[in-house]
Chain length 138, copies 4
């Protein structure tokens, strides 16, 4: 399945008074990794996706993480993201954030492929076949 790697430096503003990353920020980092992975998998920007597919985005329906080693301002970390499962109207991803080769944070997300209904709500629908194909092909 498709995967993606990026490196980033932990910013001062990502950290809390205990000097470690404020954990919601890890989910923000994972979200960006997910967006980048999907853009690469489909070969188009998120803007372009909205034009190409008549859809309402791919919001998270579930997310979780385990925080094993704290990271701090200035730490250079690597995030490896991969699609782990492709369903009919949803797909799952795993994120591994490592510091000096050691697993620091492990994250998992399930995303739904949605359309907007008339009242502004979001409803999961089957993913287009080419999207499924691209996600499955590494």
């Amino acid at each position: 399945m498709f995967s993606n790697r990026r490196s980033l430096r932990i910013e001062w503003g990502d950290c809390d008074p205990a000097g470690i990353v404020f954990y919601p920020r890890y989910f923000a980092m994972f979200d960006h990794s997910t967006v980048l992975l999907i853009e690469r998998a489909l070969g188009m920007s998120k803007h372009r996706m909205y034009e190409t597919y008549d859809f309402g985005g791919y919001p998270s329906v579930a997310a979780r993480a385990r925080f094993l080693i704290p990271t701090r301002y200035g730490d250079d970390v690597i995030i490896d993201t991969s699609i782990t499962e492709v369903g009919r109207s949803s797909f799952s991803l795993a994120h591994r954030l490592t510091k000096d080769g050691a697993l620091a944070v492990e994250g998992f997300e399930t995303r739904a492929w949605v359309v907007r209904d008339r009242r502004g709500g979001l409803r999961a629908v089957p993913m287009p076949e080419d999207v499924v194909e691209h996600f499955k092909t590494g």
Copy 2:
């Protein structure tokens, strides 16, 4: 002119490793105060504004702040916001964040009344008369 007051507690996640508010967060607090003030001034939600006025929002074109006294997690602070100037297509606001009665942060913003042009850009246009009226009436 119109003004608004709200109190809030500084959150752990607002603060940095030095134990004080990460200053971009003050601008986020001021932004929310601005949104609340405008809703009250016009007597409608921001969603409703988009329906009522055929416009693209009131983004900041300039913002500044002075940080006089640091605030920390758990501090209860008050933000007083007021419209200080109403122009043809823009208006200005001032924010005073106080802690135990002392001025801790002072902020200023200029907002433009914009429409989206064909290419997705934003262009300032004259504000509707009733908006000007509401802003000027305290």
Copy 3:
């Protein structure tokens, strides 16, 4: 066990270009609810806790959430937080974020009671007896 309720309004800056809350922000909301609950349970501020207990905080070791109904700018929501389990050196919490009475987001966290070791790392240690007592008494 101890529980806590607070209401809050979704802010413009909490939301993403799809118009719904950027999901890492829910974890930030839950974090603040946890801090408030613990302060109430122990009857002291987080600052005071650091002075009273010779410890390094209660960081999350695991967090997860399910996103059932999207929430948007201006929505008034309620977050109910409760301690669900108290172990020897860790405890768990559940958060229920509701909108108009409907469950919109459900969150779970496990927090460890830690000390800092010599190299700046964090190590879980048994929680003080009075803390356990307070957490168990609603």
Copy 4:
């Protein structure tokens, strides 16, 4: 004087429901640029600075920005940061965020060199001579 350039991609989570960067996020971007510039100017990490100089950091005492062109998710932007003035106990910086060569946001900050006083407050003190020297030497 010292200057620094970095490029970054606007993230989905940096943007608001209007689809443009939530402006407090620009200040967070500028803050990170400032931290990176100072690390390079002094040839040491912020952690190391705290060990080398007996001080309490270099918090912002004033910040301002002008928002000229909106930026959106996926935009690749460049931030050029330079020290513009070095005083006795404070220094100033300018940030220019450009998109496709056009100035989109212009930011200015004044930072104080502080020590913590006995009550936890922050007090500006003269900067060490070698710091002044490094800041002035490009």
